[in-house]
């Protein structure tokens, strides 16, 4: 811009140029602030992820109680032996009482060769992780790792272990960190989430439809709306206490399955998957209602008018036009609710999630544990190795979360009729 023109037109504004520059500078300063905050967020996320990955992979020093080479029969390694020889090894090294117990659980003939081999490895060879190192150390400080291993555990062998493995996913809990897996926790989480969504999604969307399309503006309805908004901010532990009082105790005949005659033998009380699902359902219900309401509010009124103008009833208008149009927003609300519910720990502790169970949940009325509870439990144990599997479990939780989110987003995009 020609400076003369500016001066001519703006001669009434003193120092226009200087003020203009100062306005631009202020804008740039704010831009730096915004960039810095985004950057900080990204850095925090990266540090978190690196930290987790650091603990989930690395060198371990393994010491065998009896090296597998010593167990070879006639030069044949244990991996290739027949069941008879493997059973022979077990009988040689284990106490009589233990043999009797194993046999009474499941006789040798009914066990597969792989099962017996696993028994040999876990009970006779007994590989124990004596020490672990982080991924960072394993890659960049290898000599330090070797030195420490030689100093502290000269008999052990050094192996690169990925704590997150296929086995980890399908193995149930175990008191030994080397053999523990997240199978029970994953299944528990999935069961709980399924019940939560089945309970809260129809209820929440129904309430939102009523509040937006049918309810008139009366003091009572305004009170209900305020209450719902406030409930969204109540701390989750309080929902846990509510769940304990109502679902676990008062509704015990229902939640333990006694009414249906389907009581789980492992727990004859209300501390079951269904109590957890219902408690979390109450927790996310306000969130679903509010999000669904916003989505319904955003449907343009012209669409409703067109529908009514054709001689449609209110329900026909809601079902054929308002809901399909609001569906992407409603599903977004469901995604948010799902993400919140998967990570909740405190209310489930109160409702009675088990911290150590080894069997899969078989019905809504069985005992259960969830991934966050498992992670918490493992980080609280004294042995270092539990920290490693906790890190692996965190990765599993993140992947599970991302997968569920991605599925929901895909569904949302597919059913979006806006364009």
């Amino acid at each position: 811009m020609n400076k003369d023109i500016i001066q001519d037109n703006t001669h009434e504004i003193k120092d226009y140029q200087a003020k203009l520059e100062s306005r631009h500078r202020r804008g740039k300063a704010w831009q730096i602030v915004f960039r810095a905050s985004t950057f900080t967020g990204i850095i925090a996320l990266v540090i978190l992820l690196l930290n987790i990955i650091n603990s989930a992979f690395g060198y371990v020093a393994i010491q065998d109680a009896i090296p597998p080479e010593d167990l070879a029969v006639n030069g044949i390694p244990i991996e290739s032996l027949h069941e008879i020889d493997l059973v022979g090894i077990l009988e040689e090294h284990l106490s009589a009482g233990l043999i009797r117990r194993l046999e009474s659980e499941t006789p040798w003939e009914e066990r597969s060769r792989d099962e017996i081999l696993t028994l040999v490895i876990t009970r006779v060879v007994e590989p124990t992780v004596e020490d672990t190192w982080s991924l960072f150390d394993s890659i960049f400080n290898k000599d330090k790792v070797l030195r420490e291993q030689q100093e502290k555990f000269p008999e052990s062998r050094l192996e690169f272990k990925s704590w997150l493995s296929a086995d980890f996913l399908v193995t149930p809990q175990s008191p030994e960190p080397e053999f523990a897996g997240v199978r029970t926790a994953i299944l528990g989480s999935l069961w709980t989430i399924a019940i939560t969504l089945l309970f809260s999604f129809p209820l929440g969307v129904g309430a939102a439809i009523y509040l937006e399309e049918y309810a008139t503006d009366t003091p009572l309805n305004r009170l209900i709306q305020t209450n719902i908004n406030n409930l969204a901010g109540v701390p989750s532990i309080i929902y846990g206490m509510l769940g304990l009082a109502v679902f676990v105790r008062i509704l015990e005949p229902l939640t333990s399955g006694a009414i249906f005659g389907a009581v789980d033998p492992t727990t004859a009380n209300g501390r079951t998957v269904i109590s957890a699902g219902l408690t979390l359902g109450l927790l996310v219900l306000p969130m679903i209602i509010i999000n669904a309401q916003e989505a319904i509010k955003a449907v343009p009124n012209s669409l409703r008018q067109a529908s009514y103008g054709m001689g449609a009833t209110r329900w026909q208008t809601v079902w054929h036009h308002v809901l399909p149009n609001a569906l992407p927003g409603i599903l977004t609300g469901a995604i948010l609710a799902l993400s919140r519910a998967i990570g909740e720990t405190a209310p489930l502790v109160v409702v009675g999630a088990s911290t150590y169970i080894t069997f899969d949940p078989s019905s809504p009325f069985s005992k259960f544990t969830t991934l966050p509870i498992q992670i918490w439990q493992w980080t609280a144990r004294p042995q270092d190795e539990f920290r490693n599997i906790a890190a692996a479990a965190i990765i599993v939780l993140l992947v599970l979360l991302l997968t569920l989110n991605a599925t929901a987003i895909l569904l949302r995009n597919r059913y979006s009729t806006r364009d």
Binding site: T216, D217, P300, S302, L303, R304, Q305, A306, S307, Y308, G309, M310, G311, A312, T313, Q316, H320, H321, P324, N325, T417, R418, D419
Partner: protein, 261 residues
């Protein structure tokens, strides 16, 4: 056309119509007779209650919670505001086309078929869709793309689609709230031609800000004006030719000559 040619058959009649928004009286003591199978235009300055009166004919004002209607509107001898009358049923007989085209976000076929379907139509839907699209002068342009989304059409085509879906439920009266005001001049002309064609089979009431359009298209014109406290009243009602060449009241003459608007 002179006064003696007004046939005695009225499609719908408003008697002593008063419409309130809360405490505010928006439309005051309106008596209006709409002639069968003719086009009646409603004109007047902004805010004089034209759209409110139009919406009264198919009870669409009830969608606004604070709106209250007093008086009668007689259709086939029956007051449509009687407590035992279902507004849903009225809207099948009295259809509506809106100012901004608002087709459903569905296919063109479904747009036309949906209204008939929810009202319980059980005959040959393909025939009904074709008949309605022909009636709206849209069939030739869309017959090869019936499953395309209705929103992919141009503005003028969308408005004709809205007209097609309205006539698919076979109403006797069609209300049009400034149907061409959001369209370009060529699309506007097409809509006006269409209105003349439709008038052979339907009664049409059209609200318009465009006086030339009212003069071109309508048989009868109702001039609404603002009375005290901004209540809308029916100032003058007559054959279009009379209103525009020899109006009785001074306010009518002032409005059509553009002295106020």
């Amino acid at each position: 056309m002179n006064n003696q040619e007004q046939n005695g058959k009225y499609a719908i009649t408003a008697r002593n119509l008063n419409i309130y928004y809360g405490d505010f009286l928006a439309v005051k003591e309106v008596d209006l007779d709409i002639h069968l199978n003719k086009i009646t235009a409603i004109i007047g300055p902004s805010g004089c209650g034209k759209s409110t009166v139009l919406r009264a004919f198919n009870r669409m004002n009830e969608l606004i919670p604070v709106a209250r209607t007093e008086g009668e509107i007689l259709y086939k001898g029956q007051n449509i505001y009687a407590p035992e009358v279902d507004p849903v049923e009225i809207r099948r007989h009295v259809g509506m086309v809106f100012q901004k085209p608002n087709p459903f976000p569905k296919s063109i076929y479904d747009n036309v078929a949906w209204g008939a379907k929810v009202n319980g139509f059980e005959g040959n839907m393909d025939n009904l869709v074709e008949e309605s699209l022909r009636g709206a002068a849209l069939w030739e342009e869309v017959k090869d793309k019936l499953d395309q989304n209705g929103l992919s059409l141009s503005g003028g085509q969308q408005q004709r689609l809205c007209i097609a879906r309205t006539i698919a439920v076979k109403p006797s009266i069609i209300l049009m709230d400034e149907p061409a005001s959001a369209l370009d001049p060529i699309a506007t002309l097409k809509i006006e031609e269409l209105m003349r064609e439709l008038a052979e089979n339907y009664t049409i009431i059209v609200v318009t800000h465009n006086m030339q359009q009212a003069a071109r298209v309508s048989d009868y014109t109702a001039f609404f004006n603002l009375a005290d406290r901004r209540a809308g009243i029916l100032d003058e009602f007559d054959n279009t030719e009379m209103i525009f060449t020899n109006p009785t009241k001074q306010s009518t003459e002032d409005y059509i000559t553009g002295r106020f608007g």
